[in-house]
């Protein structure tokens, strides 16, 4: 047992050594282009089969004194070297631009959008792109073209997500030489806590769909929110007339405004306190999403931050960010 864990720790150490060496070479930047000092080449598994074939052919040619076999051995060898060039030029000068990082929830896939550009005259083919140890996406690009690629990585922890280095790899054209490069596009996405449905004792609402939010709809005539149009009555204030509507239909309507009686929900940390703070955050997440879905106002109160009363998607995003980043674990 200890033997295997010993090996694992050694490979782990080597891995971290490689990582730090790579870090020295690559600087994170939103826009990178693959250059000479980024690209590595090495024979792939099939390359080793090919090399084996060459060795056997060479031995056979020498032994049987057969000039033609030797000729073909040399041709294969030369082709192998030419292949190195082809692989290199397939990758070189590809430009990567980290354009968008989409936020996600814990347990989902975080999506990162990358724009690849091929500014040269040389078409590229069969290039794999992926995050380290992740699923690969293969693409090809014709000359002077660009493509948008979405890479995914599982969001495991809440907080800021730096997906790390991206592997650009290609085996084209012959599959014997693998060329690869690591780039760092300086991505950062925010991972929100995964919402967990729960009961909200303070208001008597629960996770079910039949909750009655109607009490929040009580309104009275006022000045806050636009509530529709009604036919203009003589004597009403002209300021309320919807002139655009009159221009269109030549009939007079005036705007109606109401004040919402219900002041909005107040989400407090204490209401959902749990021994596990992640759960608390998850409950809060669930409720802010739910309330936004129902079109309600809410405010958020966390031990160190407060979010004002608000509604709508923007407000939701601000609150989600707050929840995600609240004492977030270190960047991963």
């Amino acid at each position: 047992m200890s033997y295997f864990s010993g090996i694992e720790s050694i490979s782990g150490k080597i891995d971290s050594l490689v990582e730090s060496w790579l870090d020295g070479r690559i600087k994170p930047s939103k826009k990178t282009s693959l250059k000479k000092n980024h690209i590595f080449v090495f024979p792939s598994l099939y390359g080793w089969y090919y090399i084996l074939m060459m060795i056997v052919l060479f031995i056979g040619g020498i032994n049987y004194g057969n000039s033609l076999i030797l000729g073909f051995t040399f041709w294969s060898c030369s082709l192998f070297v030419v292949n190195v060039f082809h692989v290199y030029f397939n990758l070189r000068d590809l430009s990567f631009h980290g354009s968008k990082a989409f936020n996600s929830f814990v347990g989902d896939d975080a999506i990162f959008e990358i724009i690849v550009e091929n500014l040269g005259r040389h078409p590229r083919d069969a290039i794999n792109i992926s995050f380290k140890n992740n699923r690969k996406i293969t693409f090809s690009l014709s000359a002077k073209n660009s493509k948008t690629i979405c890479l995914q990585i599982k969001a495991v922890k809440r907080g800021r997500l730096n997906p790390g280095k991206i592997l650009i790899e290609s085996l084209f054209p012959l599959g014997f030489i693998r060329g690869w490069a690591w780039i760092d596009l300086d991505f950062e996405a925010i991972v929100y806590p995964a919402p967990i449905p729960c009961r909200w004792d303070q208001t008597g609402l629960d996770e079910s769909e039949e909750n009655d939010f109607s009490f929040s709809k009580k309104t009275k005539i006022g000045t806050d929110d636009f509530d529709g149009l009604k036919i203009f009555q003589e004597g009403e204030s002209i300021k309320r007339i919807d002139w655009k509507h009159w221009a269109r239909t030549d009939s007079l309507y005036s705007k109606v405004f109401v004040n919402n009686l219900h002041q909005g929900f107040s989400l407090k940390w204490e209401d959902f306190e749990d021994h596990n703070i992640e759960n608390t955050l998850s409950y809060l997440t669930y409720w802010i999403i739910r309330l936004t879905k129902e079109g309600q106002n809410f405010s958020l109160e966390l031990p160190t931050t407060q979010m004002e009363l608000g509604a709508g998607p923007l407000h939701l995003e601000k609150c989600l960010n707050a929840l995600a980043l609240w004492h977030a674990p270190a960047i991963q």
Binding site: S33, S44, L45, Y46, Y49, Y50, M53, V56, L57, I59, G60, I62, N63, Y64, G65, N66, S67, L68, I69, L70, G71, F72, F74, W75, S76, C77, S78, L79, V81, V82, N83, F85, H86, F89, R92, D93, L119, G120, R121, H122, D125, A126, I127, K136, T138, F139, S140, K144, L171, F172, P173, L174, G175, F176, R178
Partner: protein
């Protein structure tokens, strides 16, 4: 690293095709049942592909493997050599088709097909074989390309082939360099495998064997005459075997012989006393593998420095059986005196005849010798005259003679070909005590107009005699030439369908093969084959050493430097070409110039802020330093103009590169003028 995926049907189909093509030449070598089996495997796989049936299970495959390998082993029991290995390999290759599912299998099969195509070189090294292997190699490369294209970007078969051809052409220079300069080490274990053409002369020949050769159109050997001048046909007698012993039915080579080694410096006395007169004719023979040991030589050739064994009758042998194409040079003299004196032993050897048999011929000989008054030359001439005047016929379909063959030939059938005549003449000479022997070899040959070399075919095989006279030594007599022309019933050329017919005759129904034009095509093909052999096939260790020492001797260090320079130049040229054609490099020049300008300004205290565009920078500094405004404006304008112009897709590479360079220089110049 590489995911093990299923291969796509189109790739599978291509793999099956290449499998079949690579196997194809080997089917000849395999026993029939095995060849059928291989084809069956391939067809089976095709069937499975079309019908989308799953592949056979492990058990089925195991059974097949056991069945086939035992079959192969039984077939080749006791035999060794490459045939066995190649058979096993081809069978394995065919069986692999049944296992073809994953990408990995695709690679394995393609690599194996290249390997198997090269294996055919062990058995045949002709130009055609080379071209066929190149064809398979190209297909294999195209297959690799096809397997590696991304799935949404599959290109047509033709475009894959094009890509493969480009890569192959790019790899030719390095291949040539390696071929010429890579040291050819000696074999690790001794081998002889090349297919031996056994249709030629052998050390024991009966007349009927010689007649059989008349129908064979195969190449015997080629000769290049190094001084340019090719002797006339009647001078082209190629000595191969010298038959001095007669047992009543057959002539054969002397059973006990002294062999001398050419490389040894001390020549025997008799050789030193041999006179080679007249103009030397240097020539080079290119002899394919015969499995025999004798080398053909033009009458009469002097031993040179080649590694030969030679005999007293100056026939030459290789130390080992010839299993590869050999090239050797010799010098011939048409006038010579060989063995002008015979010792008693030699005399007895060359006049020996069986005591019994052919009595009638013996008495006839005595009678004729008497009539010639015991003059050997006159006697021989009278015999030859009798061949001409009396009804002796030349035909290849002579009746087979059983007993007293000389008698039967001379007095009864009077029909025979060169072997009969030579045999009879030698017998008659020996009967009266004149030393004589039968020489078997080749006569004549066809001049290839393209390469100015001689092509000698098996049908040129001939037998004649050498007769010894006092003081003159051995003299050649070819009795066949004395036969009256009208009495020649059929010739070897006719047998092989070789006689040239003029263009008119083809209209009258001559065969296509005899058409002169077709002959020219064949001759050109032969010329190509010769060149191929000389340049590629026979480029072995000795050749390489000779080639390199030719250079090495002269300009060692200079050559080495020149070679390294050439190699570096080639590699550098490739890099530079790619670098120049990369768009980015132009922009880099421009950007570098601009950064230099920024650096100059920074030295004077005007730093460009991070993220500040050239336009913004220009404006800001113009405000701070108005007298620089105009120059800064110019610099910025140039920069923008060239930068965006070169990004245009329509911008030509070379034109915009020049412009960028000019612009870069202008920027730096202007910037410096400010300081």
């Amino acid at each position: 690293m590489v995911v093990n995926k299923h291969i796509s049907p189109s790739v599978c189909f291509s793999l099956i095709t290449i499998n079949l093509l690579a196997l194809f030449p080997h089917l000849n070598l395999l026993p029939l049942w095995l060849a059928c089996f291989c084809c069956l495997c391939v067809v089976w796989r095709l069937f499975l592909l079309k019908k989308k049936i799953p592949l056979p299970r492990t058990f089925t495959k195991l059974v097949l493997i056991i069945f086939v390998s035992s079959g192969v082993l039984i077939q080749y029991i006791g035999k060794s050599g490459p045939e066995v290995g190649v058979s096993l390999l081809t069978v394995a290759f065919a069986l692999k088709m049944l296992e073809l599912q994953w990408v990995r299998d695709g690679y394995v099969i393609t690599i194996l097909s290249i390997f198997i195509a090269c294996m055919w070189f062990l058995f045949s090294m002709t130009l055609f074989t080379g071209l066929y292997a190149v064809f398979i190699f190209t297909l294999a490369i195209a297959l690799f390309v096809q397997m590696n294209r991304s799935h949404d970007h599959q290109k047509s078969f033709v475009s894959n082939i094009k890509y493969a051809c480009i890569m192959l052409l790019q790899s030719i220079p390095m291949m040539v360099i390696l071929f010429v300069f890579f040291p050819r080490v000696d074999p690790i274990w001794a081998n002889n495998t090349q297919k031996i053409d056994e249709t030629g002369l052998k050390e024991t020949m009966s007349p009927s064997d010689l007649a059989d050769m008349a129908g064979k159109n195969q190449l015997a050997f080629r000769v290049e005459f190094l001084k340019g001048h090719i002797p006339t046909e009647d001078q082209l007698y190629w000595r191969a075997l010298i038959l001095s012993e007669f047992d009543g039915l057959e002539w054969s080579v002397k059973s006990s012989e002294d062999f001398y080694h050419t490389v040894k410096m001390n020549r025997p006395l008799w050789l030193r006393e041999t006179q080679f007169l007249g103009k030397p004719i240097p020539y080079r023979v290119i002899l394919p593998a015969t499995g025999q040991r004798f080398a053909v030589s033009l009458e009469l050739s002097k031993p040179g420095t080649e590694e030969f064994l030679y005999t007293r009758d100056l026939r030459f042998l290789f130390p080992d059986k010839i299993v590869q194409t050999k090239e050797y040079e010799m010098v011939a003299y048409q006038k010579f005196i060989l063995e002008n004196k015979l010792s008693k032993l030699r005399y007895d050897q060359e006049t020996k005849l069986p005591i019994e048999g052919n009595e009638r011929s013996k008495s006839y000989a005595k009678k004729m010798f008497g009539e010639a008054r015991q003059h050997p030359r006159v006697y021989i001439q009278s015999i030859l005259n009798s061949f001409k005047q009396e009804p002796f016929f030349y035909t290849l379909k002579a009746p087979k003679l059983e007993k007293d063959i000389i008698d039967a030939f001379l007095f009864e059938s009077r029909k025979g070909f060169c072997a009969h005549y030579a045999s009879a003449l030698v017998f008659l000479a020996r009967s009266v005590g004149i030393p004589a022997r039968v020489v078997v070899g080749y006569q004549g040959g066809e001049i290839n107009p393209f390469g100015q070399y001689l092509v000698v075919k098996q049908l040129d095989a001939h037998a004649w005699s050498e007769i010894w006279f006092e003081e003159a030594g051995w003299v050649r007599y070819d009795p066949t030439t004395y036969i009256a022309e009208s009495r020649i019933l059929d010739t070897p050329e006719q047998m092989a369908g070789e006689a040239t017919v003029s263009d008119d005759a083809i209209l009258v129904g001559g065969s296509f093969q005899q058409w002169a034009g077709f002959r020219a095509i064949r001759q050109w093909g032969d010329y190509m084959e010769l060149k191929w052999n000389k340049v590629v096939v026979s480029f072995d260790k000795e050749r390489q050493e000779a080639l390199l020492s030719q250079f090495w001797g002269k300009l060692t260090r200079q050559l080495f430097l020149m070679l390294s320079a050439v190699a570096l130049f080639l590699m550098g040229a490739l890099f530079i070409w790619f670098w120049l054609t990369s768009k980015k490099s132009q922009l880099n020049e421009l950007e570098k110039a601009y950064l230099e300008y920024c650096a100059l300004l920074e030295e004077n205290g005007f730093e460009r802020k991070q993220g500040e565009t050239p336009e913004e920078f220009c404006r800001r500094i113009s405000v701070l330093k108005p007298d620089w405004a105009q120059t800064l404006r110019m610099i910025t304008d140039i920069f923008y103009q060239e930068y965006y112009a070169s990004l245009e897709p329509s911008a030509s590479l070379r034109g915009s590169r020049k412009k960028c360079k000019k612009a870069a220089h202008a920027i730096v110049r202007l910037a410096k003028s400010l300081m």
